[in-house]
């Protein structure tokens, strides 16, 4: 049975619970109905793990999605949080509305590459511009899984697949798209790299505005041949993390210093927590937009599978900040929502 409303674990059992007394089970959702081995499943289980480790209060979270196998995943985590499985490609607008109604909520949005890059391109770009505070997970497999494997906009040019044939069009790089649209937290990861996914997700939840995680998530049914850049085989063999990542909850002030190859540094996140980066191979500075674009383009040209925090810039206020929202609008009293009778009479004076 899908999405049973779970209840907090009975305390009498001896089960490991977190700081707010919830067990990992309490962060589960319904059993997955996705294919065994689907990348989306491993991502969902990382969300569960992160919820547990960060002591998230389920009722403070909302989970949203579009349509697709990927977009089904919110049903498979955080069963005690409100969920919204929207329309194909339209999760961004729904999230925007929901978070304007109640900006105290923290939102985890899940989308697919088709849901975001094909039908959803417009809403995705404009969400970035508005910088709505939410985590935007793309479970990117380069195909439309749920409709049986057609190419999506993120499929590599020239890629050949059994059902879909050959892809004639250049791939959409969602990280680049997010960056030039103004997104301040852009990361790429790999469903096979559980630890990195977790650390990035934690950092993303601490970001001030929209945080995009473009997670390559193999479709074992339609796009998992080892020579496909979005397969497990390819990912496991070729993933090239730009740095080693660690998330440090609520540490004291630490500032950003420029970094040399292999050097270690921490970046302060909006809510006071930090993320630590230890560069691997090359020096990479995720705080420079052009460097990020350059790196992504190079990776695309050379077929490198780079992962990590690709761009970070906390300067732009979130939409709720811009709108100067205070009390969540959904919590306003009737009195706050309806001006007085005298207010009406006065107002009408100027129309006499």
């Amino acid at each position: 049975m899908e999405n049973p409303t779970p209840t907090p674990t009975d305390r009498t059992q001896i089960i490991k619970t977190n700081a707010i007394g919830l067990s990992k089970k309490d962060y589960d959702g319904a059993p997955s109905t996705l294919c065994k081995g689907c990348g989306h499943n491993s991502i969902a289980s990382q969300v569960v793990q992160v919820g547990f480790e960060l002591n998230l209060r389920p009722h403070e979270i909302i989970k949203l999605s579009g349509i697709g196998c990927s977009s089904k995943s919110p049903a498979y985590f955080l069963g005690m949080s409100h969920g919204f499985n929207a329309l194909h490609g339209r999760m961004p607008s729904v999230s925007t509305g929901a978070l304007m109604a109640n900006h105290s909520l923290r939102a985890i949005g899940v989308s697919g590459d088709g849901d975001t890059g094909s039908i959803g391109m417009g809403q995705f770009k404009h969400l970035m511009r508005r910088n709505v505070r939410m985590v935007y997970l793309v479970e990117n497999n380069g195909v439309y899984g749920l409709t049986k494997g057609q190419f999506s906009a993120t499929a590599e040019e020239g890629l050949e697949l059994k059902y879909a044939g050959q892809n004639e069009f250049p791939q959409v790089d969602l990280c680049m798209e997010a960056i030039i649209a103004g997104c301040g937290f852009v990361a790429r990861s790999f469903a096979g790299d559980a630890k990195q996914v977790r650390e990035l997700l934690k950092a993303a939840l601490s970001h001030r505005g929209t945080a995009v995680l473009d997670i390559i998530s193999p479709c074992v049914a339609f796009n998992n041949e080892d020579d496909s850049p979005k397969s497990y085989g390819y990912g496991t063999k070729n993933e090239k993390p730009l740095h080693e990542l660690g998330f440090i909850p609520y540490a004291e002030e630490i500032s950003i210093e420029p970094m040399e190859p292999g050097e270690f540094r921490t970046v302060r996140l909006h809510d006071g927590s930090h993320i630590s980066l230890r560069n691997l191979d090359t020096a990479y500075d995720p705080t420079h937009k052009l460097a990020a674009l350059e790196r992504l383009q190079r990776a695309q040209d050379t077929g490198e599978f780079i992962t990590g925090l690709i761009y970070y810039n906390p300067d732009r206020p979130s939409l709720a900040e811009l709108e100067e929202l205070d009390t969540p609008l959904s919590r306003l009293s009737t009195e706050q929502l309806r001006p007085s009778q005298t207010a009406l009479q006065q107002f009408l004076q100027s129309y006499r």
Partner: protein, 608 residues
């Protein structure tokens, strides 16, 4: 039949004065600022206590194309469109045709610059030397061209004998009492007035005389009234994409909210987001309504088409939201600056699959205000998207009305469970018909209880909101939603009915066609007495059935090609289908009483 014809009928040898009963049209080009001049005239008549209404017939561009402003002045209080007897010809591009259209006995006030107007000796011509009159007035260059319009204000004032102090008062209101502007403009008005007094002699019968019929009334556009209603309805999340004629609705909302809806700390209790398109606007109000905001958008035809998928979603997932459709002429881009009632059937069942949506049908600024707040109550009570179908004529033109009544009931937030209630109930099932009215209970995100959460999805679900492909779950859920629509019948505003005991013929209409119809009914009082039912919402209730039952023939009069409301009523009242007759017409202009009379008489002639 216009006043002049009536005069002739009355067989006057010399023309006796026509007082407070005429229609005047000002012909100018778009973007020449004539709006200020026109509203000054309108307000002058209003301030003199004479019932008046103005209609702006403007083109779909920003500058240069023909524009007509119709002012109807009627001591009897009729405000429907009527062919004009008085023309202010200030647009070279249309002057020739405009003059031709005047009825015999009409008046033409024209800008002296206009060359070769048609010669008609059945008209009275007044030539106004605009150039001279505005010469050397000191205003910023940019405003110079606008001054020309003040010349016709002065001329009209002279002709109709409008006291200049009244004009000045009206003008000041228009310019927000910015003295310098008022002065420079009044200067032109006075010059024109004096010039006319000295150089023209009045040959036409039209005059105005003060009355007290506008005592205590207000003047406002329907879009302003609707937006104000929304403000008092607690609109908290508005999302929109610009489109004529709905843009001024959101402009008003954005103007009013900061004035009326800051909290004790001066923080906004609302937010208005300009979306990237109507798809996004619809998604935003869905998300907002779901999360507990009073969510609203306004749009017009093309936007409605783009919202179809989300409306189908909102119907099935049961999310409250309010959608204003300020109707313009469709299909497609159609006539974006002309009025229509052409989206009725489309919105009533908008979206793929079996859907039905409540629709409110305002006909006046009072109803725009009332439905402005009430639509939120209905949306949250019924947990479904609710439409308000206004039109360009009502939305963008200025109408007289009584000062709005403050909402006569506390806000209805519908069946929302708090954490405490969830606790007390030991859980809840999102889509269960607990009360037998088809309306389930919901919780808002953020409700602090482990059993409060549920999963919203556009795919099949059972009472617990769990994914389901089971036949019986689908069947039961959709049957319940249908019951909800039955509940709606008696929740939505009831029709306004005028039963005429001696009438065998009934008229059903909605929205702004009422004014032409009401005037026509008065004229026909003897020849063809009628009863009148004005729908204020869909779905219909028993009252409508009874009305139809009580008459031999019922004409549904509407402003579209296909008789859309007529079709809806035929399917809702099959037993009466054959006595329901359609009178549908759409050319972009509001109906005239004259046309309604003719059509009714013709139809009745045929059916005798």
């Amino acid at each position: 039949m216009n006043v002049l014809e009536r005069q002739q009928e009355a067989g006057h040898a010399t023309r006796s004065p026509v007082i407070n009963d005429f229609s005047l049209v000002v012909a100018t080009a778009n973007g020449t600022g004539s709006q200020t001049a026109n509203l000054t005239l309108l307000r002058s008549f209003f301030k003199l206590g004479i019932p008046v209404h103005g209609k702006n017939i403007f083109p779909s561009n920003i500058q240069g194309l023909p524009t007509w402003y119709h002012i109807r002045v009627s001591h009897e209080g009729y405000i429907a469109r009527r062919p004009s007897e008085i023309l202010v010809a200030f647009n070279p591009a249309t002057a020739h045709e405009d003059v031709q259209e005047l009825p015999s006995g009409g008046v033409c006030i024209y800008n002296a610059d206009l060359k070769n107007l048609p010669q008609r000796d059945d008209l009275v011509f007044y030539r106004v030397p605009v150039g001279e009159l505005i010469a050397g007035i000191d205003v910023p260059v940019k405003r110079k061209p606008y001054l020309a319009n003040m010349a016709y204000v002065g001329a009209v004032a002279w002709m109709l004998e409008v006291p200049l102090e009244v004009v000045e008062e009206a003008l000041s209101a228009q310019f927000g009492y910015r003295q310098k502007l008022v002065e420079s403009n009044m200067q032109v008005v006075r010059r024109a007035y004096t010039w006319a007094t000295e150089n023209l002699n009045k040959q036409d019968p039209f005059r105005i005389e003060p009355m007290n019929k506008t005592e205590g009334l207000i003047v406002m556009t329907g879009n302003e009234a609707g937006a104000l209603g929304a403000v008092f309805g607690g609109a908290s999340v508005a999302a929109w994409y610009p489109i004529t004629p709905s843009t001024s609705f959101m402009d008003a909302l954005r103007e009013f909210l900061p004035k009326l809806r800051k909290d004790e700390n001066g923080k906004p209790t609302y937010t208005v987001i300009q979306a990237e398109d109507e798809l996004a606007a619809a998604g935003m109000i869905m998300g907002a309504g779901w999360a507990g905001a009073r969510a609203i958008t306004s749009t017009s035809g093309p936007g409605i088409s783009l919202m179809a998928e989300f409306v189908s979603y909102g119907y099935f997932t049961e999310i409250p939201a309010v959608i204003w459709d300020i109707q313009r002429v469709g299909p497609s881009t159609g006539l974006p600056t002309r009025t229509s009632q052409g989206d009725i059937s489309f919105t009533y069942t908008l979206g793929h699959g079996d859907t039905k949506h409540p629709i409110l049908l305002p006909s006046s600024i009072e109803e725009c205000f009332e439905f402005g707040w009430k639509s939120f109550d209905l949306a949250e009570q019924l947990q479904t998207p609710v439409f308000v179908l206004s039109d360009l004529d009502l939305g963008m033109n200025n109408w007289m009305g009584k000062p709005f009544e403050y909402p006569n009931q506390p806000m209805q937030r519908g069946k929302v469970l708090s954490a405490g209630q969830v606790q007390a109930l030991g859980g809840f099932a999102r889509y269960k018909d607990v009360d037998g009215d088809g309306i389930p209970y919901r919780t808002l995100p953020g409700t602090d209880h482990p059993l409060a959460a549920y999963f919203t999805r556009g795919s099949g679900h059972n009472e617990q909101a769990q994914y389901s492909e089971r036949a019986e779950d689908w069947l039961n859920n959709m049957a319940r939603i249908a019951r909800k629509f039955e509940t709606a019948r008696n929740l939505v505003p009831a029709p306004a009915t005028e039963l005429n005991p001696s009438a065998r013929v009934g008229i059903i209409a909605y929205g702004t066609t009422r004014y032409a119809i009401e005037e026509a009914r008065d004229h026909l009082a003897q020849r063809l007495p009628t009863s009148f039912l004005r729908l204020r919402a869909l779905p219909i209730n028993q009252e409508v059935r009874d009305f139809v039952a009580a008459h031999e023939r019922v004409y549904i009069i509407e402003l579209n090609r296909d008789g859309q409301m007529h079709s809806i009523l035929q399917t809702e009242l099959p037993e009466f289908a054959s006595k329901l007759r359609s009178i549908a017409y759409l050319d972009g202009m509001p109906l005239t009483a004259h046309w309604v009379e003719d059509r009714l008489l013709k139809e009745e002639g045929d059916s005798r």
